[in-house]
């Protein structure tokens, strides 16, 4: 149908792009993860598993990974708890205001991540908006220091940033539910609550799984929020990778951690895809 030149012209550039900017870097990382650094700070091209061994043996790495997963899990949970009711309201009850409200969910995504993270810093800091207010109304007489530079701050900020990412797929899956199914359920004697739990929620599971995956995976790899708001107790695995590639100059270990996370994330995506397929009936 199309000439060979045309097909080549549309397929080669994106393939080349993916090869040069994704496959080659991953391949390099893969190689680096087996190499090591000499005492004179040069990369030694020796092939062994010592980086991966270190990863498993030194508690600081897997504990940080566990903490990161804990933070990501909390972000996921709160995003779902906030996002589902909003998506449900938007889809079923917003009526004429649907488009406006939908835009209001999207708009925060246009604001730079950094601006939003700094905004939380201003709100949570010891001279911040929240502490000033609490002291002004005499709920406390000294600034609360657990607000900023804590896992709490990281979870709060990441939840704020990634909730729209959970709302959108949930909203999409709710929009796909034929409304006559809801009518059929009422017709058969099910109350609104029974209808929600027996019809609406099961049919929205693909959206919930997609939204949860977004929130978890995006939070797990995040390094700006912990850097700006996390403090020492809020360090996440990506911060370690950043410092290994930077100040610590241990690219091989950094590459090994990165590949470990890549493996984790790809497994999660695979699992979530299977879950979504199991629960979709179109």
């Amino acid at each position: 149908m199309f000439s060979r030149t045309y097909r080549a012209a549309v397929t080669v550039p994106p393939l080349a792009w993916v090869a040069v900017f994704l496959l080659v870097p991953y391949l390099l990382m893969f190689c680096f993860s087996f190499w090591s650094v000499s005492s004179s700070q040069t990369i030694i091209h020796s092939w062994d598993f010592h980086n991966y061994k270190e990863l498993l043996q030194k508690p600081v790495y897997w504990q940080t990974l566990l903490r990161s997963m804990g933070i990501a899990a909390r972000v996921m949970l709160f995003s779902l708890l906030l996002g589902y009711p909003l998506a449900y309201f938007l889809s079923f009850y917003a009526g004429k205001r649907k488009d406006l409200l939908y835009q209001m969910v999207i708009i925060p995504l246009w604001v730079s991540y950094l601006v939003r993270a700094y905004a939380w810093k201003t709100i949570l800091g010891s001279d911040g908006v929240l502490n000033t207010l609490l002291q002004y109304v005499h709920l406390t007489n000294h600034p609360l220091d657990f607000l900023l530079y804590s896992p709490f701050a990281v979870v709060l900020t990441l939840t704020h940033i990634y909730t729209p990412f959970t709302i959108l797929p949930i909203y999409a899956s709710l929009e796909h539910i034929p409304r006559n199914l809801v009518e059929a359920s009422h017709d058969l004697g099910a109350t609104p609550a029974q209808t929600f739990w027996k019809v609406v929620f099961p049919l929205s599971i693909p959206g919930v799984v997609a939204g949860a995956t977004f929130a978890f995976v995006l939070s797990l790899g995040d390094f700006l929020a912990p850097l700006l708001l996390g403090g020492p107790s809020g360090i996440m695995i990506s911060n370690i990778v950043v410092s290994l590639f930077g100040a610590a100059y241990d690219w091989p270990l950094g590459a090994a951690i990165s590949l470990g996370m890549l493996f984790l994330v790809v497994s999660l995506l695979f699992l979530s895809e299977r879950l979504e397929n199991k629960w979709s009936f179109s």
């Binding site: 034929p178 006559n180 359920s185 017709d187 058969l188 004697g189 029974q194 629960w279």
Partner: protein, 354 residues
């Protein structure tokens, strides 16, 4: 009215129901009674308000004014899930995440019936619609006709007093549709539940119903048995909507109706009049029949309809008559026709509404 309403107690009573969507009037002042065990069809073109009326009975729409009663119970103030009414939806609305038997058992499960009772009643319902073999399949794995049966079983298993059916056969192809018409009718006889059946297909309405409610632009045009509505249409619209007819426009003076060159005796007051004459009431002239009205004309078109054919005959004064004749009858160019005066049924003019 039909004798049915007189003999059997009333089940559903719709009183002066009206519905407007914004400035759009969908139903105006509709009153209707259905008897227990009756097969009532609401017939109308799209936009006639028939589906809206059904949705008001089911509870998916609120009437702007008027009341719906079932026996001594006022229905229109209850939410749909408290009404002892079940619906078969136009596109079946089966729950895609549940199997056939889970779909059928849904109403019993939300009513928290014991598991053993649910299992037994679901099995019976599936048996009744011949879907036992497909009990564990998901709706997406069965055909449209089978989904139709499941939807029917899902509604009937709850033993409603009244079953509402919203154009349930419209998505099926013609063959399956005719088969389902017969099955649905015999199922209705068997279970003895009153059906309110919505359709736009006049033939379907004629075949299945005890009574037909003809709705036009949100108003009742006529409520009668299929035979009555065919043989004595109340208005020109009914006469034309149900089957074929010839509308004769004329005038009555001193007990004589005149329509162009034709004239016959009537017992109607003086004034303009409209008559419906079914094509099969016209026959080849056979002098000797008393009271026959005779008319001559030229054949302009013949349409084959299987056992019969419809012949268009151009008569004097621009009058065109459609005549139903047995297929294969020798049709000449010129025809001498006649009809009996009593077969020209006076009908009301149908007002243009919108």
């Amino acid at each position: 009215m039909s004798t049915l309403t007189a003999v059997k107690p009333n089940l559903l009573s719709i009183r002066n129901v009206a519905k407007t969507f914004g400035r759009n009037v969908v139903l105006r002042d509709v009153s209707l009674e259905t008897a227990e065990g009756e097969f009532l069809t609401i017939l109308g073109e799209s936009g006639s308000g028939k589906t809206t009326l059904l949705r008001i009975i089911a509870g998916f729409e609120n009437a702007t004014s008027g009341e719906v009663w079932m026996g001594a119970e006022r229905l229109d103030q209850q939410p749909p899930y408290r009404r002892r009414v079940n619906t078969v939806f136009q596109h079946y609305a089966l729950f895609p995440h549940l199997t056939v038997e889970q779909n059928v058992g849904y109403g019993l499960r939300v009513a928290k019936r014991p598991a053993s009772e649910i299992a037994q009643r679901v099995a019976e319902a599936l048996e009744k619609v011949k879907m036992t073999a497909h009990a564990t399949k998901k709706p997406s794995k069965i055909s449209g006709g089978q989904q139709q049966r499941v939807a029917l079983a899902r509604a009937l298993v709850n033993r409603p007093k009244l079953l509402l059916l919203d154009e349930p056969l419209s998505a099926l192809d013609a063959n399956l549709r005719r088969q389902m018409q017969v099955e649905l009718k015999s199922l209705q006889r068997e279970v003895g539940i009153a059906f309110v059946f919505v359709t736009h297909d006049q033939e379907e309405a004629m075949v299945m119903s005890d009574r037909i409610v003809l709705l036009r632009s949100g108003e009742l045009e006529q409520v009668a048995t299929p035979r009555e509505i065919y043989s004595h249409p109340a208005t020109a619209y009914v006469a034309q909507f149900i089957g074929h007819t010839n509308l004769l426009k004329g005038e009555v003076r001193d007990g004589i109706a005149r329509c162009g060159a034709l004239s016959w005796k009537v017992s109607l007051p003086d004034g303009p009049a409209l008559f419906s004459l079914r094509p099969e009431q016209l026959r080849l002239a056979n002098s000797g029949v008393p009271g026959a009205v005779r008319v001559q004309g030229r054949v302009v078109q013949q349409a084959f309809h299987g056992a019969t054919e419809l012949v268009r005959v151009q008569c004097a004064d621009g009058l065109v008559l459609v005549v139903r004749m047995a297929s294969g009858a020798a049709v000449r160019d010129q025809l001498d026709l006649e009809f009996s005066a009593i077969d020209a049924i006076p009908v009301r003019e149908s007002l243009e509404r919108n």
